[in-house]
Symmetry: C2
Subunit: 251 residues, 2 copies
């Protein structure tokens, strides 16, 4: 059997290539949930960018620390505005060091929490980089989403058989959106739930009465919490809540 290191080298082929922007999913934070390709790529990057929120910090660094050389990481600090125009303007400025490194033919990646296709800042960063440097090829390495890691710890699937799943960024939506999801799905996953705790508790007294509740924060990280209630749940911005419809006929 090949060693993991031999295997990782073969998996990469000629990647990372100079001038390509790699978007790398770091998974939920647990270093064991990084993919082999992500780990191998990180070891060969000249420059790895990690997004960090001014207020909330970033979790990706812990997941990737074992694979990055000191000095090869640059933090891209955002104040995470909600207005889409402000988001775009912010990223146009923030990606300048990455654009410069790509122009120099360096091997450049951006690491994001979870999966780069689900509510990731990578989409904004990549758009800003391609706007500034249209020839940039973008390659995305998917990662394990936090909702999958939370369900794994719980030991209860998100969906089986004919179940319908809805995934929503709770803090960004109106109560009507949440109610529509409850009507159209059997499992509702609410991401960025910390700021929406009051509304979620109200839902559980109303349209989601009888649904089971699972709360998770910082899955695989220090300060990890899991609970079957929202009582006493901390309003961590990155918390997620899984609501499951009661079985037909009641439980």
């Amino acid at each position: 059997m090949s060693s993991l290191d031999q295997l990782a080298g073969r998996l990469l082929g000629d990647h990372p290539r100079p001038g390509v922007l790699y978007g790398i999913g770091a998974g939920p934070g647990d270093p064991g949930l990084l993919t082999l390709r992500a780990a191998a790529l990180l070891r060969r990057l000249d420059l790895g960018a990690v997004p960090r929120s001014v207020r909330r910090g970033g979790v990706a660094v812990q997941a990737i620390a074992a694979h990055t050389a000191p000095g090869s990481l640059v933090e891209l600090v955002s104040d995470m505005p909600a207005d889409p125009g402000a988001v775009e303007r912010g990223w146009r400025g923030r990606v300048a060091p990455l654009v410069a490194a790509l122009d120099e033919g360096r091997r450049v990646g951006m690491v994001t929490d979870g999966d780069p296709s689900l509510y990731s800042t990578f989409a904004h960063a990549a758009a800003a980089i391609v706007e500034a440097r249209p020839a940039t090829e973008v390659a995305v390495v998917p990662g394990v989403p936090s909702m999958c890691a939370a369900a794994a710890v719980e030991g209860r699937p998100l969906a089986v058989g004919a179940d319908r799943v809805a995934v929503l960024p709770a803090s960004r939506l109106e109560t009507g959106d949440l109610e529509a999801a409850l009507a159209a799905a059997d499992t509702v996953v609410l991401l960025k739930a910390g700021a929406a705790m009051r509304r979620l508790r109200a839902l559980l007294e109303g349209p989601a009465r009888g649904w089971s509740v699972r709360y998770a924060r910082r899955v695989g990280l220090e300060g990890e919490e899991h609970a079957d209630t929202l009582d006493g749940a901390s309003a961590d911005y990155m918390a997620l809540v899984i609501l499951r419809r009661p079985a037909a006929g009641g439980e």
Copy 2:
């Protein structure tokens, strides 16, 4: 920097433990999208079970082949009935070799495509094993879902900002369920879409008119296909379709 092999050993600690049932997500099939923990665990299992459909084969084996010793894998072949009672009865019989191995104190895992919490046969197998052997501890290693890998290849996120996502097993649902998802979400991911192609084409002429279409099958495997249309798309059972709501005001 530690080698990947050193790191993987540290990540595992005293896992895999005898008598524990590990449910291991293999990701979409690309060996590079296996997690470090999954790869390390597989290398230490005495017995790894892999589900396979009578008609459709299994994809997990390709993702894990580099980490399993010859003779350590057993296939659990199912005819994949739709009736939940028949599913349960089938798994009660099929898990007997795993129950025996757990009783003997062997280190036992079951590998599934994608993530074990999303539409995975692992839920059924684990329930049957715990029913037969109630003391069994179950540990789940999450994996990269196929929808994340499909979006990565496409280079277009599933969701940003306030987007709402619905994930549905298309072949198992009524048209009304699909319509409800279109009303309540901005991105609708249809899994197991091969058997539902005719209905999906009809949706695109009706309630999903104007939505963008992305088709993917066998992501990261031989025979991989991606397309921006359903015209000519093969009715592969495991195909997935991503529908995205047109931007407000039209595109």
